[in-house]
Amino acid sequence: MEKFTGTVWVLGDDIDTDIIIPTEYLALKTVQDMKPYAFSPLRPELAGKIQEGDILVAGKNFGCGSSREQAPEVIKALGIRCIIARSYARIFFRNAINNGLLLIENDRVQEVVAEGDQITVTVNQAISHNGKDYPIVSLPENLVGIIKAGGLVKAMRKLNGLD
């Protein structure tokens, strides 16, 4: 089972897509250009501090708001390995899966982790923090299929006989 460890950044409930990447930066040419502005309305310093392999821990309804796919893309571009939230807004959920960003639903770690802590994730199995394991549920099979293909683009390329 795939396993990784990362440093945690903690966010609250209802982190909306205008916080993740404000509309005024959506016309920038690439997601790389948008990176410095991620989370800027709420925590302008955050984008500069996130390191490759870090993990976001948030409350309920993460990614609510618009359908902008740049939201999961910019989070992935910052190097975030996965998000652990109590729940996700549905469009964000689909967009994240389609872009190969791992989302985990869990409502217990929020009470125990603090920003800067290290946690270990064993995919489709458990989150470990301070020697304690918090079980996580598996994703539905059709979504695992998209992630396994490496996202929706790769799944469609396969369909069109390109890969």
Binding site: I19, A27, N61, C64, S66
Partner: protein, 415 residues
């Protein structure tokens, strides 16, 4: 088997019985792409290796968020869009006709029972005519353009019944804001909302649009009104037997049922900076404001502009307040010009802009700064939505917005 409205629409589309939780592949009857996302859709479509659109007649491209361009980079979106139109033979293209969610029903692209996807979260709006419509990202849109299909999870349904006669100052905006407050910003996540009761049956399609539009603010996948004679008149069609049968069965099964008595409702505001932070206008009366915005896909229709004009007629906007009015489409603009509404608004001191999304998403015009307060008829009061992150956005009905513009502070019409 008894079924809710969304179950009936999906069953009709896939040709077999479904139940909530099932994952099925549906066929898109229509899709909509707007200017912000067309470059990304085009890029993903080609990266996926598709050579042609599955059905160019079912694809609608609308420029609205960036029209007219306010930054040099915006023009690239139009260029990429125009090249895509040329290369793949799109015929339904609107370059300056108004906001996508107004145009889709208004121009007849959506019919009762249709399955529609759009690259914008407020795509839920078309439930006003009994269509299942939902927002998706640009990668998924690219795959639909190639295949015409998309997987969905059949949602559970929350039934919302409103009965009785609404008080004079209460509009459909106040009902949907109250519902979002009661459900919470994630209270309907993954679920369908179904509206019923004599109050919604009495409502115009425009008022129903306002409610379906904001369903996403409670996380809903879609929001549905059963098609009736008003729907038929709006869509300029006669309802088929199949479309008439889309209304939920009496014994359909709901995950939750909520009932309101219209007489109990009051004008409300969504306070900074959560859409579910709902308070009665009375409680905030007197709070000074800097700007008022009447427009957007939520409340920029003729009846909204006329409601504002009724309050503003013969009055002046407070001297330190900017009142900005944006008709939702060219058609709305023309109708409001022809029936004298725009003239009343201009006389009162309103700034009237071209149709589009600019103000609502803080993209063109009407930007505010730290410590400023705006009463707005659009759908989101998120941090930084209409300027800096220290702007306070209060969402309200056009009546409350117009009364506040005159008072220079939050005010209830008629008080």
């Amino acid at each position: 088997m008894s079924a809710t409205m969304i179950e009936k629409i999906i069953e009709r589309n896939v040709g077999k019985a479904v139940k909530p939780g099932d994952i099925v592949t549906v066929f898109a009857d229509r899709v909509m792409i707007h200017d912000i996302f067309i470059p990304f859709v085009a890029e993903k479509f080609e990266e996926m290796g598709f050579q042609r659109l599955w059905d160019p007649d079912k694809v609608v491209l609308i420029y609205d968020h960036l029209v007219p361009a306010s930054q040099v980079d915006d023009t690239r979106h139009f260029q990429v869009g125009n090249a895509f139109v040329e290369k793949y033979g799109l015929t339904h293209v609107h370059r300056s006709d108004g906001i996508c969610h107004q145009l889709m029903p208004e121009a007849g692209y959506v019919k009762p029972g249709d399955v529609v996807f759009g690259t914008d979260s407020h795509t839920t709006t078309y439930g006003c005519v009994g269509a299942f419509s939902s927002g998706i990202g640009y990668t998924e849109m690219a795959s639909i353009l190639g295949t015409g299909t998309m997987w969905i999870r059949v949602p559970e349904t929350i039934k919302v019944t409103v009965t009785g006669k609404m008080p004079e100052n209460v509009t459909s905006k106040d009902i949907i804001l109250r519902l979002i407050g009661d459900l919470g910003a994630d209270g309907a996540t993954y679920k369908a909302l179904e509206f019923a009761g004599d109050t919604v049956e009495e409502m115009s399609i425009a008022s129903r649009m306002t409610m379906a539009n904001m369903a996403i603010e409670a996380g809903a996948k879609c929001a549905l009104f059963a098609p009736d004679e008003k729907t038929a008149a709006y869509c300029e069609t006669e309802l088929t037997k199949e479309q008439k049968a889309l209304a939920a069965d009496r014994d359909a099964s709901y995950v939750r049922e909520i009932t309101y008595r219209a007489e109990d409702l009051v004008p409300v505001l969504a306070c900074p900076s959560q859409v579910d932070n709902i308070k009665p206008v009375k409680e905030l009366k007197g709070l000074p404001i800097d700007q008022v915005f009447i427009g957007s896909c939520t409340n920029g229709r003729l009846e909204d502009l006329m409601a504002a004009a009724e309050i503003l007629k013969g009055k002046k906007v407070a001297p330190f307040v900017k009142l900005i009015v944006t008709p939702a489409s060219r058609k709305v603009y023309q109708e409001a010009a022809e029936n004298g509404t725009l003239s009343i608004l201009a006389e009162a001191g309103a700034i009237i802009t071209h149709p589009g999304c600019g103000l609502c998403c803080g993209r063109t015009g009407g930007i505010l700064t730290d410590g400023e307060r705006v009463v707005a008829t659009n759908n989101r009061n998120f941090l930084g939505r209409m300027g800096t992150s220290r702007v306070e956005i209060f969402l309200a009905s056009p009546r409350t917005a117009a009364a506040s513009a005159v008072a220079g502070q939050i005010a209830e019409a008629g008080f």
